[in-house]
């Protein structure tokens, strides 16, 4: 059994409630931080831990905290990004639904470190019932004296509120989230200035993912050095992975970083292998925006090393033969899945979620969706595959926020690793008429047709 630091108490009956959470040692990190540590010492512990942002980008959290402008004297804010919307990702919801007080404890300890007196949790609109859970948990924490004026007689004040979104993936981008929290459309801002200098209402602001903030209590209760002992190299600590698709045990798992992909996929402690023991075809390790990998690059890297669940190993080989840990949204495909259809599905998602601010993304995501749709529906042309490649390459890097990259990467990776499947769709339109075309006849069985056909 690997070490759990976020979900270690998940099976304690009633852990959702304040009484049980407190009885089990909850809110100890707040006491320890406020009574025995200066805010800068808390920041130092988090730096030492090597904790990296768990929303997808993987930027060191302590470093991000240290950038916050404390000199201007403006009010500072901590904003928790609970706008989890990346397809394949459902870990933050699990944590908030079952352990709301862990997030609240993390918010208090982290706000103290940043000197923030007014903090927010921004949660996606569709998680309405979780919003209510958090609101009630905050009221409990406040009644118990963990929020409000002069917390634990220290002179430190903190108010914490939950803000509900309106259904827009783009608000998971930190500057769009801030815009939304100001009551506006979720259009990302140009950086710089970074939120650490000018964020919410132009005040210095740190935006952190739910899971990042939830790791802080353990780090403060133990130590940054203890946290850094878990994991491998620069991938320290544990990570929540949300697994879906064609695996036996779909759900949320806490793993120590460094676990092998093979063990995660196949051991009974985790995913337990493939549903119906069908062959593994592809996987997306970190949410829909990261490159999809074919079966031969999943358990081993191109060099033949074991592929591990770490930031470094999953990206080994760059985009040519690697992917990314991203948000931990782990989607598994068996041989009945159609890569073209799946890529179209993701392209539709990004076309729907583009905020429309940058032309390459606004226009390009729509083009990707349309061209992929016609290929998937038997109206594709041979040159469409190169057209897709061209469109994605013109979006990548040419937008002010990463949504453009997120839309481009899955298309590029699908063509890079599964080009023959696109060719099959173009050349044999009558064979892909049924949307479940590979359920009856997996691509592996008809693959030979592509190479025989001359154009």
């Amino acid at each position: 059994m690997s070490q759990k630091i976020l979900l270690d108490k998940i099976n304690v009956p009633g852990i959702k409630t304040y009484e049980v959470y407190r009885r089990e040692g909850g809110y100890a990190s707040v006491e320890k931080a406020i009574k025995t540590l200066t805010p800068d010492e808390v920041v130092e512990e988090v730096k030492t831990s090597g904790l990296r942002g768990r929303g997808g980008a993987g930027f060191p959290a302590g470093m991000k905290w240290s950038f916050i402008d404390k000199k201007s004297g403006k009010p500072r804010h901590l904003v928790c990004n609970a706008d989890e919307s990346e397809p394949g990702t459902f870990k933050d919801r699990f944590l908030m639904e079952h352990l709301p007080h862990l997030l609240i404890e993390g918010m208090i300890t982290s706000s103290y470190a940043l000197g923030a007196n007014l903090s927010y949790i921004y949660i996606r609109g569709e998680y309405m019932w979780v919003y209510k859970i958090l609101e009630r948990a905050i009221a409990e924490a406040k009644a118990a004296g963990w929020l409000g004026k002069n917390i634990l007689g220290s002179g430190y004040d903190l108010e914490l509120y939950v803000q509900i979104g309106g259904g827009a993936y783009i608000c998971g981008e930190e500057t769009a989230l801030i815009e939304s929290l100001e009551g506006k459309r979720g259009n990302p801002r140009i950086k710089p200035p970074f939120p650490a200098i000018s964020g919410l209402w132009s005040n210095p602001t740190v935006v952190n993912n739910v899971e990042t903030i939830a790791a802080v209590p353990w780090i403060i209760n133990n130590s940054g050095a203890d946290y850094a002992k878990i994991g491998i190299g620069r991938s320290t600590g544990t990570k929540l992975i949300s697994a879906s698709g064609h695996v036996k045990n779909q759900g949320v798992y806490e793993i120590e970083l460094g676990l092998s992909v093979y063990e995660f996929m196949n051991s009974d402690e985790y995913l337990g292998g493939m549903i119906d023991s069908r062959p593994l075809k592809a996987f997306v390790p970190g949410g829909s925006s990261v490159p999809v990998l074919p079966a031969n690059l999943i358990y081993k890297t191109a060099n033949g090393d074991d592929r591990l669940m770490t930031y470094e190993s999953l990206s080994d080989g760059g985009f040519a033969t690697g992917s990314m840990l991203g948000s931990g949204g782990f989607i598994v495909y068996n041989d009945t899945a159609c890569i073209v259809r799946n890529t179209w599905n993701f392209a539709r998602f990004y076309a729907h979620e583009s905020c429309g601010q940058c032309s390459p993304c606004r226009e390009g995501t729509g083009w990707l969706e349309k061209v992929l749709w016609r290929i998937e529906n038997g109206q594709g042309r041979e040159e469409d595959i190169d057209l897709l490649w061209s469109i994605q390459s013109k979006i990548e890097g040419n937008t002010i926020c990463p949504l453009g990259d997120a839309a481009a990467w899955p298309v590029a990776a699908a063509i890079r690793h599964f080009r023959d499947e696109f060719e099959y769709h173009v050349r044999f339109p009558e064979k892909i008429k049924n949307r479940e075309h590979f359920v009856a006849e997996p691509f592996e069985k008809v693959k030979h047709l592509v190479s025989k056909q001359t154009v």
């Binding site: 998680y127 259904g167 009551g183 879906s244 698709g245 064609h246 949204g329 989607i331 599905n345």
Partner: protein, 176 residues
Amino acid sequence: MKVLDIKQEINMTESLMTRINELISHYPEGKQKSALLPVLHEVQDAHNDWLSIELQDKVAEILSIKPVEVYEVVSFYTMFNRQPIGKYMFEFCTTSPCCLNGVENLMDYTCDKLGVKVGEPTPDGMFEVRGVQCLGACGYAPMMQLGDFYQEHLTKEKIDQLIVDCRDNKITLHDK
């Protein structure tokens, strides 16, 4: 979008106004615009799940902002409805992991059963089926959102039961 000439009765009850004022109190003096999204949810929930122009104007007035500041937000976010919707809106997640678990067939089944197409309410206004983007429940697929709650691990039998429960008024849409 088609602009419908449907009158909406505006009823800002005392309990709704209390909640709105509480939401406004979450932000510093002068930053009441920040309450716009939560306030729109509350107002929409209390008005048959849609927001007419008149109702949006009312929200602008309450928050002391310009009507256009409300319109631009309402039109940007998918959860705000600018025209009436079916009372029980079955919003199926149609992103990849749900598709791998058969959501497309389940949506077809639901539409056939209700005799509707996606996006068209039943004539009595009771039901509507829509496909939406990832709802963050990929491990519990196929699934849908119904009001404030998720219905997960769906099967044909569960859909049948849900329809019966809706007709029998056993489904709570909003958690207040």
